[in-house]
Structure formats: structure tokens, C-alpha cells
Symmetry: C2
Subunit: 241 residues, 2 copies
């Protein structure tokens, strides 16, 4: 159902042919990804790419008034630091921040670039992943405009759980509000509503998903569309690649 759950490995690295993977492995360094850690900021050079093993990293657009809105999420199905292979080492408007604590493997910017430019399997896998990420971005752009908060919250919780091994999330409403680009009080109301319908249970700094099917029914279509695209482009390749 959710193939990228419960795997303590990175799907992109996994899909590499053994020779390529072994060569790259010698450059990989294990890192913890604690909640809230910033992997890069707008206008700062990106020094490493991160291949998450567990947990999730949020890519958020930062506005001039300091507010921020999540544009996409990256878990073990992807990699943080795509700009490095696109020929630039920074982003003007985005921050990468750990949303669910976990761990990953990091690779120096220059090494990633060299490997990418060899034009072997990593090259194609990254581009394929990128397409799925772009689908996520464009779907989120529409979602932010058209869908109600409760639908978007349900979508967001589902996407979180996909990157998690359990149904329990350690997140404050304040953090969620910043991701969804709404008031904290708004999240409070929406969460209460989901709980009242028996879909989640929540207390201070904690949300547990009780009824996943129910959440999927409440969520806007965006969850499903994005999931489908990742499955088509990343997970299938990970098997056949």
C-alpha cells in the first residue's frame, strides 16, 4: 500500500546498480536528522545532499515577512539538495528543515555533482525523482488555493505517516500551522474536528492517526495524485532499476 514506509533505506540509492552504489557508498556519511534541523537556508550555499533513511524533510518557501509555507516533503523516496545537480548551489526562496526526526546519508556537493555527470543510473534516477517532486509542487500550488484547511490537514498528516514507521507524530500545532501557512488557532480547530470524527487523537505536541482510511476520505485528492506519481516514477524504478 505504502511501499516507502518501513524501509530503513533510501529508495534512490537502493535502485542503483551495485557497482555504482558501491562507488558512491564510500563517500556517504551517516547523519542524524533531529527535528527542526535546517539543512539549508535561502541564498546560502548548499554544501551537502541528504538521502533520508528515516524521517522527513520539508522544503518550505520563505516569504519576506518571515512567514513560510511548505512546498514539498522529502522522505526516503528522495533526496534533499536537487539544485546541486541542476547547476546551482543555492535556492533563493526555500529552506529545507527536518519535519520528522530521523537519519540519513549525506554526500558532499562536489561528489554528487561528479557522480551525476557521469550520466549513469544516478543521473536518470534523480531526474525521474525530480519529476515526481515537481508534480508535488504543482499540486500543492493548486491545493493551497482551492482546498479547505481540514482537507489539507488530512492530506498533510497522511504524507507524514508515509514517511514514518508508526502512527504517532511528535508535532506541535504551531509547527503544522507554519507548514500549512495558516494560523495556529486554525490548526487547533481543524484537529479538534478530525478528532471528533474519530480519525485522529491528539494532545500536546502529539498526534496519532486512528483511522487512516477515514483520513484518506477526508483528505483532498492531492494526497492521492502525488502518491501515485511517486509510485509510478520512483518506486517502480526502485524495483526494476
Amino acid at each position: 500500500m505504502e511501499p516507502h514506509i518501513n524501509q530503513k533505506s533510501n529508495l534512490i540509492l537502493n535502485a542503483l546498480p551495485s557497482q555504482e552504489r558501491e562507488r558512491i557508498s564510500t563517500h556517504l556519511e551517516y547523519v542524524e536528522l533531529p527535528l527542526g534541523k535546517t539543512l539549508y537556508n535561502p541564498e546560502e550555499p548548499i554544501r551537502h545532499a541528504y538521502f533520508p533513511l528515516t524521517g522527513a524533510v520539508s522544503i518550505v518557501t520563505v516569504l519576506r515577512d518571515g512567514s513560510s509555507v511548505e512546498a514539498g516533503v522529502i522522505g526516503n523516496e528522495g533526496v534533499v539538495g536537487i539544485p546541486l545537480v541542476l547547476g546551482t548551489e543555492m535556492e533563493l526562496n526555500r529552506r529545507a528543515v527536518v519535519q520528522i526526526a530521523g537519519s540519513g546519508l549525506k554526500l558532499k556537493a562536489t561528489t554528487l555533482n561528479e557522480e551525476f555527470r557521469r550520466g549513469e543510473q544516478l543521473h536518470d534516477l534523480l531526474l525521474s525523482y525530480l519529476h515526481a517532486f515537481i508534480t508535488q509542487l504543482s499540486q500543492t500550488a493548486a491545493c493551497n488555493r482551492m482546498h479547505r484547511l481540514d482537507e489539507r490537514l488530512a492530506r498533510w498528516l497522511l504524507a507524514c505517516q508515509d514517511r514514518l514507521n508508526s502512527s504517532e507524530l511528535q508535532l506541535t500545532q504551531e509547527f503544522i500551522a507554519e507548514m500549512l501557512g495558516v494560523r495556529r488557532a486554525g490548526v487547533s480547530v481543524a484537529a479538534a474536528q478530525l478528532q471528533q470524527r474519530g480519525l485522529i487523537k491528539h494532545k500536546r505536541g502529539y498526534i496519532q492517526i486512528i483511522d487512516r482510511a477515514g483520513l484518506e476520505a477526508t483528505s483532498c485528492e492531492c494526497y492521492e495524485v502525488v502518491r501515485q506519481e511517486y509510485q509510478r516514477l520512483v518506486e517502480n524504478r526502485a524495483v526494476t532499476g
Copy 2:
């Protein structure tokens, strides 16, 4: 100020070294891009890439209820059909539709792919352009959530004018509403407000920009952020590349 205005050439093709450009040129076919023409639909194979010379193409996310929201715009600074080089020949959730009538050069999907995979200059230029496009998507995602309609309308009109040789746009409020993901009546009110402040003049199916500086002041920051990124990544390369 707006280097990609007033050039009847495509910046990506322009930036190619002469040998590469000549080789590719033999495969290019001139096409008109009439207002409203659909270049591809969700879940349909993309058969050609389009390098606009004049006019602009809108990439819109299509939702299940048939409504749509613009995710990004592509003019002579870019190319329509990026998925082709990312290893897939379709998009699940997006449509490409001509927003400002013009013309372009089209290239068969397979040819683009072959050229891309040679790993020469086209490869790098497309990826560089892609990064700027991603910046546009992520900025729009935040913009759709955080900014008021009048600010977004101003932003949108500016982006249109950048792809145009004149200050006059042939567009109905209905069309604009669909791009911005709002009601037609909302656009009517917002446009009246901009006109009352002397920034634009509009009548049936027509908008003229009167005070560009004023529009820039009214627009949200998103216009400027995206413009800057295109300048950094595409236009500078077009000169030095």
C-alpha cells in the same frame, strides 16, 4: 530591465554553441501558438517540446472537479515539455495551454531526448532552466496561500507583460480567473480597483498596463523573486554560455 522582452528568439536555443545549435536546428519546426491552444493534457503523452519565440504558455494544475490553477508560465526564456528529459512522457496533473498568442519552434520528443542525453550544452541549459522553473512553482505555492487577489493579479499581469512586446493584453476576466484560481467576479473587482488607481485600463477582453512601476509596487514580492532567479540562471547563461 526585462531582457527577455522584445526578443524574437528563444533564450535556451540562443545560448547553445553554434555547432550544437545548428545540429538541433535541422529538427526544429516553426509553429504558431494561438491563444487557448492546448500543448498537452494530463495523462496524455507529450509528443513535442516547444521553444516559444513570442507569446507565453501556462502550465496549470487540473483538479478532479475540472477547475484549474496556474502553476507556472513559460515564455521565450524556457521550454514546454521538460518532463520529456526527466524520463517520462506525461504529467498526471498538468495541462499546458497558450496564454498569450505567439509562435515557437517544436522538436520531436525523441529528438529532444537524444540531444539531451548527449550531455552537451543543451543538457546543462535545460537543467538550469528547470531550477528557475521550480523556484517559480514553489513561490507560487506560497503566493496562492498568503497573498490577496489584487496583489496576485498585479503579479500575474507583470509576468504577462514580460513575455509580450506591448503593454496591451488580449485576455478575458474569465481566463484570468481560471489562471488565478478565483471567481470571475473577483477578477472584475480587483481589476476595477487597479484601474481606479491608474495602474491599468481595461475593457472587454483587453487590459492595458499604464503604470508598470505602480503595478510592481502593488504586486506581491513573488514577481520579483521569480524574475531574479530567471535572470540569475537563464539570462546570464544566455549571454556567457
